[in-house]
Symmetry: C2
Subunit: 374 residues, 2 copies
C-alpha cells in the first residue's frame, strides 16, 4: 500500500506555520456548542464548524496551502483525487491561484460534490470506487499534463493545513477556559486525524479517530502496525469510504492517536439530526460521524469493539491491542472521564434528498434522548 | 390597538448599553457569508446567524435583558406571550435568573417551540391564534400571579436587546471593511426591525422590514401612519403571523425604516433551501424570510407591491406612499444600488418534518439559480 516516498513527518510547528499562512485566506470558522448536546453527552462538546468553510469542508485548508505552494513554485495546473471534498477544495484553491485543476472522483461520488467541483471550474474525471483506481487515473492525468498531484492525505501540506482546524479549536477552547480533554475527527484517508495529532502534540489532549463500521482501515492499521486496507462496507458517510488510510497519516497517527471509535449508520444519522435540529447546522454524514463517535466515547458504550486503543507508545509498550476500557472495562470511556471534548465538523456538502431522508426519524441508536432541549 | 402606556422611545445609546450588558450573557453569533448567495444577489450578503443563539433565536437577547432587570428588581416570576421564540427565550432567561415563567402561545404554535418552552421549565398556556387573545390570557395570568408581563415587542428592553444583534452585525461589517448599505429583518411584532432602526441610527444604512404577503401589518401601518392590524394570511413563516405591529416598534420604525419588502411562501422556501444547502445552517422560515426579502430588494423585483417606502421624514415629507423605486421605478431597488446588505437570521426553531418538506424542491420563485455553487 505504499503510495509515497517516505516524506519527512510534519510536526506541530508546521501546523502552526500553516495556520498563520491560512489566516485571512480561509474562513476562521466558529466553535459552536449546544446545551442539548452537552446534556446528552454529560460533557461539554465543542464543535468546530468547518462545514461553514469555503467549499463546504475543512479540505479547503490543506488544498489552499498545497496549491498555493505549487503556484508559487510556478506550476500552472494541479491534479487531485478524492471522494469529493478534497476535489472541490483543490478546484477552488486552483481557481484562486489561477491554476488549471483536474480532479478524479469515484463513480459513486455524492452528486453535489461532483457539481461543486465542476462549478469551481475543474475538469472532473470519474474513475472506479477504490482509492487505487482513482490514484492510477490521477497519476496518468498528471503525467500527461505535466502537472503535480496534490494527494488528499499523503501530503505534508495537506496534513498541516487540515491540522490548522484542530489547532484553532484547541486554542479557542483554551482561551474560553475549557481546554480540551479529547479531540475527535472522522477518518477517511486519515489526513484530518493525523493533523489533529500534530496540533495536539505536547498537550494532554487525547486524539481519537472515528470510523464507520466496516470502513475501519485506521483501526485495523493500528492493530497490524502498518497501513491495512479494508473492503469498505456500505455507509451513509460517503467521505469515509477510502479503503486504506494513507501512509503519511498512518506514520503520524500510529503512535500519537489514542484510539478509534467505530460507529454505525444509525449513530451517524442520529448525530446528523442532533447537529441539524439542536446546533442548527447542516453537516454531511461523514462530518456528523465525529459527533457520533464523541457521544459514544463519553457515554461509555458497552460495545467491546466500540473504542480501540493502539498499543502504548514504543518504550512503554506491552504490544497488546486493548479496548479503551476503564474500570469495569468494556468499550468506550468511563462517563465523566472527559469534561470537554472537541469535534471537528469536517464538512457540509450533502444532497437535498439525503437531508430530507435523514431529517426525520428518532434521534436514537446512540444515547437516550429524553428531555432534550436547547 | 394601543397596548402600551406611551413609554419613552429607546435610542441607539440604549442598544449599545444592552449590547454591553449582554456580552458574555448571550452567544456572540457569527456573521456568515456564502459565495453562492452573493453571486445570486449580485451583492455581498452578510448573515448574522442568530439561529445559533441560545434558545435558537435572537429573542434571547431582549428576554435576557428584560428578565434580568426584573430579577434585579426583586420579581420572582414573569409572564410572556408570543408565537413561540420569545416564549422560549423568556423561559430560558427566567431559568437563568431563578424566576418562574408562564408563557402563552397560540393554539397553532410550532410544536418544537411549545416543547422547548416546556423543556426550559416554563408553564405553557395555549390561547387562541391572535395577539389580543394571547395578551388577554397573559394579562390575566400576570394579574393572578402578581408577576410582570414581558411583552414580546412593546418593551424598550426587548427592542434594545434585539437591536444588539443588528449592532453587532453593523460593527462587524465595518471592521471587515464592508460596511452595510442596507439591513433587513423579518417583521412579526416589529421588535427586531425597530431594534435595527435604533442600531443603525446616525448611519447611512437603510433598514427594511420583510413581511409575508398578507401578514404585512408594518407595511399597512406605515401607509396609514398608525398601527394597523391585518387578518393574517396563512404562511410557512409561523413567527411572522402577529396580526399587528406593536405600538412601540411602530413609533420607532415609522420615521426610521426605509421600507418593507413583501415575500411569498415560495420565496421564503427558496431562501430556506439556500441557507441550508449553501450556507449550511438551519434557519426557520420566519428567519429565512429576511434573506428572501434581501434577494428581492437587491435583484430589483418587478412587482410594484414588492418594496414600499414610507413617507419621507417629517419636515421634508410629501406625504405620499411610494414604491421604493429607482430610475425606471417599479418595485425593488436597482440592481447594483447596494454593495453590502446585512440580514439577521432571527431563528432556527423548526420541525424536522418541515425541514424534510422544504429541503427538496427547486430553489426558485425568487431569482434564477443556474450556475450556483459555493
Amino acid at each position: 500500500m505504499s503510495r509515497s516516498h517516505a516524506p519527512a513527518l510534519p510536526d506541530r510547528a508546521r501546523v502552526e506555520e500553516a495556520a498563520r499562512w491560512l489566516s485571512g485566506r480561509v474562513v476562521r470558522t466558529p466553535v459552536l456548542n449546544a446545551p442539548a448536546i452537552d446534556r446528552l453527552a454529560g460533557a461539554r462538546i465543542l464543535l468546530k464548524a468547518e462545514n461553514l468553510q469555503t467549499g463546504g469542508s475543512y479540505k479547503m485548508r490543506g488544498a489552499m496551502l498545497a496549491v498555493g505552494r505549487l503556484a508559487a513554485a510556478g506550476h500552472t495546473g494541479v491534479v487531485a483525487q478524492s471522494t469529493g471534498n478534497h476535489a472541490v477544495a483543490v478546484a477552488l484553491a486552483a481557481g484562486r491561484h489561477g491554476l488549471a485543476a483536474t480532479v478524479v472522483l469515484p463513480v459513486d461520488a455524492a452528486p453535489v460534490k461532483v457539481a461543486r467541483a465542476r462549478a469551481a471550474g475543474a475538469r472532473v474525471v470519474l474513475a472506479g470506487t477504490a482509492v487505487e483506481e482513482r490514484l492510477a487515473a490521477a497519476r496518468q492525468l498528471a503525467a500527461a499534463d505535466g502537472h503535480p498531484l496534490v494527494d488528499a492525505y499523503d501530503h505534508p501540506d495537506v496534513l498541516a493545513g487540515q491540522g490548522s482546524a484542530s489547532l484553532e479549536l484547541i486554542e479557542e477552547a483554551e482561551r474560553a477556559g475549557t481546554p480540551l480533554d479529547a479531540l475527535l475527527l472522522p477518518v477517511g484517508g486519515g489526513g484530518g486525524v493525523a493533523g489533529a495529532c500534530l496540533a495536539a502534540a505536547g498537550t494532554p489532549i487525547e486524539v481519537y479517530g472515528v470510523e464507520p463500521l466496516g470502513c475501519d482501515s485506521l483501526a485495523r492499521s493500528l492493530a497490524a502496525r502498518r497501513p491495512t486496507p479494508v473492503v469498505p462496507a456500505p455507509t451513509i458517510a460517503d467521505g469515509l469510504r477510502p479503503d486504506c488510510v494513507g501512509d503519511l497519516p498512518f506514520a503520524v497517527a500510529r503512535d500519537a492517536v489514542r484510539g478509534v471509535v467505530r460507529v454505525d449508520d444509525d449513530a451517524i444519522a442520529a448525530a446528523f439530526r442532533l447537529l441539524l435540529l439542536e446546533l442548527k447546522v447542516l453537516v454531511e454524514p461523514s462530518g456528523a460521524a465525529g459527533l457520533a463517535g464523541a457521544l459514544r466515547l463519553v457515554t461509555g458504550s458497552d460495545d467491546p469493539d466500540g473504542a480501540l486503543r493502539p498499543p502504548a507508545r514504543p518504550g512503554g509498550s506491552d504490544g497488546v491491542l486493548r479496548v479503551a476500557g476503564v474500570p469495569g472495562g468494556s468499550g468506550g470511556a468511563a462517563p465523566g472521564r472527559y469534561r470537554t471534548v472537541g469535534v471537528v465538523l469536517t464538512g457540509g456538502n450533502v444532497e437535498a434528498d439525503v437531508v430530507a431522508r435523514l431529517a426525520t426519524g428518532p434521534v436514537a441508536g446512540l444515547v437516550r434522548m429524553e428531555g432534550v432541549a436547547a
